[in-house]
Each structure stands twice: as C-alpha cells, then as structure tokens.
Amino acid sequence: MKEQQYAIEAADLTKRFGNLTAVDHVNFRVNQGELWGLLGPNGAGKTTTVRMLCCLLAPTDGTAKVGGCDIRKEAGEIRKLIGFCPQEPTVYDRLTGRENVKLMGQMYRMPKAELEKKTQELLEKVGLADRANDQVITYSGGMKRRLDLIMALVHDPQIIFLDEPTLGLDPAVRRAVWDFVIELKERKKTVIMTTHYMEEADELCDRVAVIDYGKIIAEDTPETLKEKAGKGDVIEMEFTGSAEAAMEKLKKLKFVKTVSKLEDHLVIVAEAGIARLGEIIRVSTQAGITVGRTRFHENTLEDVFLHLTGRRLR
C-alpha cells in the first residue's frame, strides 16, 4: 500500500447505466483504520459505489483512490490490498467450507502452511470448524454468510469492503457478525460497510455517509448526524384531519426541534419531548387534528434520514 493519509478518496465518482445515474459525483474520504458506513435505502447507489472501489465496475466519470492506487489505472495493485464480501452469499456450493476459504487464499498465493493455519483459525472463530469439511450446499443461510465473511479476510487485507454484511440474518447471527466487525476495527483495519440498517451503522461505524438517489447527502459521526437532525426525543403521532395548522403551531414551541409529516403521522423531534407529550397533544388538538396512537423513542439515524429526505429508510 502506498504511503497516504487516507485509505480511500473518492473524487466526483460517478456511474451511469444508460439514462440512470446510479452514483452521482460523490466525494468522500475514509481514514486509515476507520470503520466507514454508507447508509441508504435499497437502490440508493451503495453497492455500485463499492463495486467501483473494488474495480468491478469502471466509473463513468470521476475516480477514486484505494490504498493510494487509482481505480482507473491500478486495479491490479488494488486487488492485492482489498478483501470484498458481497451482498449475497457468494460461495461455491459444491466445495466444502474449508475449500472455499482456501481457494480465496490461494488466489493471493498465500504460503500453504500459513493458509492452512489461517483457514482453521477463521473457521473456528465464526463457529464453522465442525462443518468445515461439509459441502456448502448443506449450510444454512447464516452459515454461508459467516463463511462469506471469512473468505474476504483470509489473506489479512488492509482494506475490507462489506456490502450489507447482515442482510437477512437472524438477530443472533447478526450480533456475531457485528462482533467480528468490531474486532476488525480493533485491529486497525479500514472497513467500508454498506447497510440500510440504521442501528447497525449507529452501533458500528466511526463515520457514516448517507446516500440517496446516488448522492451523498450527509456525512459525519452518527452522534453528530443525530444532533444535526435535532437532539432529543422523537414522537410519532398518528392523526386525522389537516396537519398544516398543527405543524405550524408545533414548530413555534421552543422545545420542538423539527416537525415532519409522513403519510398519516407527524414526526416531532423535541427536547425532553416525552415529558412534554401532554402539551404537544394539546396544541395539536387545538389546531384541529384528532390525535391517534402515539409512540416515542430516542433519536436514531433513521430519523436523520427522515429529516434529510422526508422519507423513511425502509
């Protein structure tokens, strides 16, 4: 890896498929050893961005440097530096778990003894050692996902791309994957992770970029993003009637940070909002709406996305 300040630098990175602009002039920098998340709904451009960074897709415009190497000119060098775990389990069903992991190591020409040792170590770490010699076709979805992950890591890459690493996994397996990612972070690996699970980005990422319709619309630490969206409690209030007057009156309350309308809900971010729920309902009712079921929770990245786009993440 070349000496450089950033593990990844994207400059006006763009990808168009015909008339569709999947990634639209995105710019970002990922620090060495950082766990950087790309958060957005399905179809936002997350996977396309990662595939360009992994040299699987050529950019239409702009470029990026991965480990100091240009994705347009130095794909061969980049391939030696990275580990890639795709969105769908991408394993050979007719090979055993062990053979799949070793295959990836052999592509990097790892010494045989080192590869054997590393393969066994990783299989044990993700709880697949007992089934390592079974064909993958007999594995569950969660087992395949764990195998997929260690296939990206067997050669000990410096920069790791995880594309929706917990998509479709049950909570227990998801937690296990999270622990594994946290360990990578502790080992100072640079990790680029795409997700549309806000709690995942919130829990794991040092910094998060929010992407929508191919554009990065916000980038910062999860805490800062939440603060920008309005620190406080989030109150979701079902209503019937015309919401405009109520929204105007609610926005005038000093403790209310933001008010958004989402179909038949009003989403209100307010300081100590739970304690002031009675006042919020009273003001809303006086403005002519009938208040239905009301829920509240702490501010999350989901609310950040809602605040930025007026839409829910999923």
Binding site: C54, E88, T90, Y92, R94, E99, M107, M151
Partner: protein
C-alpha cells in the same frame, strides 16, 4: 499464474464431479449409451450378403470383388445376370447388389459400377456403402500410381456398426463439454463468484485457462471411459499390431481433444448470450443437437446439400478423422486435412469465446 490456473482447474473439477446432474450428462450418459450400443451391436461383425454380376471379368474387377469378400462385413454372392441379381434382392436373399460393367475402371467407378442397397436396413446399407466406398477409393488410388498388382494383398476394412457408434459416442461425449462450459460460466456470473474472484489478483486469462484445462481433463476422462466401455462390449480398433492399435487410439484422443477445445469455445460464446445457467444449458442443446445430427455423428449425412452444410460443424471434421483412424487404420498424417479444419475451428471458436468473455467481464 500457473499456480492460480491449477487451483482454478482443481476447483472446477471438484464442482463438476460433485454435481450429480453434470456428472450424469458428462460421464454416465455417454457410458450408458456405449453400453446400449454394445448390447445392440455385440457379437462382432455382422456379415451382409451382397450379390454381384461381373460383366467385366478382368483381373482388376476380380481383385475388386476379392477385396470386398475379404472385408469383414460383406459376403459376396455371384449372379449370372442383372435380372437374377434383382430377383434375389427382391426376395430378400441379399442386402445389396453390385453390377460391374465391361471395361471396369476404378478411376471411373461412377460410370462402371452400379450399387444398390436395402435402404430400409440402416445398418446393412451403411455397412455396404461405406465398405464399397472405402475399397473403391483404395483401388482408385493404387491404380493412379500404377501399383495395381499390390492389390494381391488383402485390403482390411474393419467396418461394423460397433466401430461406427464408438466414434459417434466419443464425439458426442466430447461435444457436450460445450453445455457444461456454458452452464459453468453463466453460473459463475449469476452467483457472483466470478466477480468475487475478480476482486483478487486472479486475471480473466487465469480464469479461462482454468476452465479450458478442466474441460480438457473432463473430455479426456470421457474419452477414456467411452473407450474402456467400448472395449468391454466388443470394440477393437484397427491396427496391424498392438502398438499400431495403441497409436491409433492415442491419435483418436488427440483429435477428440481438438473438438473439446472447439466445444469449450462454443460454450464461452453461448454463455455470453445466456441470461442464466438454465438458459445457457438450454441454448447449448440447440447447438449440440445440430452438431450431432448434421455432423455425421450417428450416420453419414446422405443428402448432398446437407452434406455440404455439415462442413460448418467441427464435429464433421472430428468424426471423419476419427473414423478414418479407427475404422480404416489411417495414420494421423493422412487425415491432416480434417485435422487442419478442426484445429482452425478450435482456434477460431476459442478465440471468439475469449474475446466475447473479456468484453462482457471487463
């Protein structure tokens, strides 16, 4: 690079050998077909009676009849005149009739020899026509060099349906590597395993070389299996000595491997146009079936126009070359025209396949 290619080859072989569907089509089916052929045509060479009238009566025409008589598949029965010959044919006493006109000239056999066969008996008509053709060709060649006296040596033509079908089954077995190649590429592309490998230092050339090598190894296993089963059910290649027979077998393997390269190339082309693995396999059969039926795999193409069309298929070159080697004992050098055609096909198809693959994947 070589290490990567070997790793990919081993990976491909493991995935093919552990997939029951591929294993069935690639290995079990050709072997099963060969066993059925053996059961249908066992008992060695079937001898078909062919009546003849020799109006010429010269030494050359007598040698010609002797040569036919000495071939393993025909029993020559003399008749006095054309009418009695035709009557015997109508009665079903003979499977074919041969009339040699006065002034018989091997170089102008189409003017001085009349042949008719029982077209309803596929095996008999094929055996008689092929044997007469082979011996006529031999006679014409010898006389053109004015060495006709050497015809005192018997001309050995080991034609029988078993030999014919062995070549067909071998050609079929090797051709269907097309479908496994197309299916393999489409599967790697659909499942994303190729993309995943492309994030490693592996190059597309490594990937294709691994595919070609595994395809050739599977084809070689197929060829050995078909020959082994064929031998068990009665097939014997032509050759004066055991060494000649062994060399002829190796020559046939070599020709089959050229067809395997062409088949892998066609597999790459098919995969480029297929949406997924199932689609690739479906398209493959649309390519394989005409190659088999118009490439002379199971029978000689009779229609003159279709016979010309058959040169568009690499199987034609392969079948003609292997039949010449295994049925008529021709050395590899004497089928160089077929080999050149097949090698050209193999090189062109593989190169087109590689170019399309690279265009679609980079």
């Amino acid at each position: 690079m070589m290490g990567t290619i070997i790793t990919l080859t081993v990976k491909n072989l493991k995935t093919i050998m552990r997939d029951k569907v591929y294993l069935f089509f690639l290995l079990a089916m050709p072997i099963f077909m060969m066993i059925l052929v053996g059961l249908a045509f066992r008992g060695g060479t079937t001898t078909y009676s062919v009546g003849y009238v020799n109006y010429d009566g010269g030494q050359l025409s007598v040698f010609f009849i002797d040569a036919l008589e000495n071939s393993s598949g025909l029993a020559m029965v003399p008749y006095n005149n054309t009418d009695s010959l035709k009557e015997a044919f109508r009665q079903g006493n003979i499977k074919g009739g041969l009339i040699i006109e006065a002034g018989y000239n091997p170089a102008k056999a189409n003017e001085t020899v009349t042949l008719f066969v029982d077209e309803t008996d596929f095996s008999a008509s094929l055996t008689i026509q092929s044997t007469v053709k082979a011996i006529s060709q031999a006679f014409a060649g010898e006389t053109s060099k004015e060495y006709w006296k050497s015809l005192a040596e018997p001309i050995s033509v080991e034609f029988n349906m078993m030999n014919f079908m062995v070549v067909g089954t071998l050609s079929y077995a090797v051709s269907i590597i097309l479908f496994s190649t197309a299916g393999w590429i489409a599967k790697e592309r659909d499942k994303g395993t190729f993309s995943r490998l492309r994030t490693t230092p592996m190059s597309p050339t490594d990937f294709l070389a691994g595919g070609l090598l595994s395809g050739l190894i599977v084809s070689l296993i197929q060829a050995v299996s078909v020959f082994a089963v064929s031998y068990a059910v009665g097939f014997r290649p032509v050759g004066a000595t055991d060494m000649d027979k062994f060399v002829n077998m190796l020559s046939a393997f070599f020709v089959a491997m050229l067809l395997a390269v062409a088949s892998v190339g066609m597999g790459l082309i098919v995969a480029a146009f297929a949406k997924n693995e199932d689609h690739a396999v479906g398209i493959s059969w649309f390519v394989i079936i005409p190659m088999m039926f118009l490439g002379g795999t199971w029978y000689e193409v009779q229609d003159p126009a279709m016979s010309q069309v058959s040169w568009a298929f690499p199987t034609t070159y392969c079948n003609k070359a292997i039949r010449a080697i295994l049925v008529r004992g021709a050395p590899l050098a004497s089928v160089s025209n077929y080999l050149a055609g097949l090698a050209a096909y193999a090189a062109i198809l593989f190169m087109i396949g590689v170019l399309i693959f690279r265009k679609k994947t980079t």
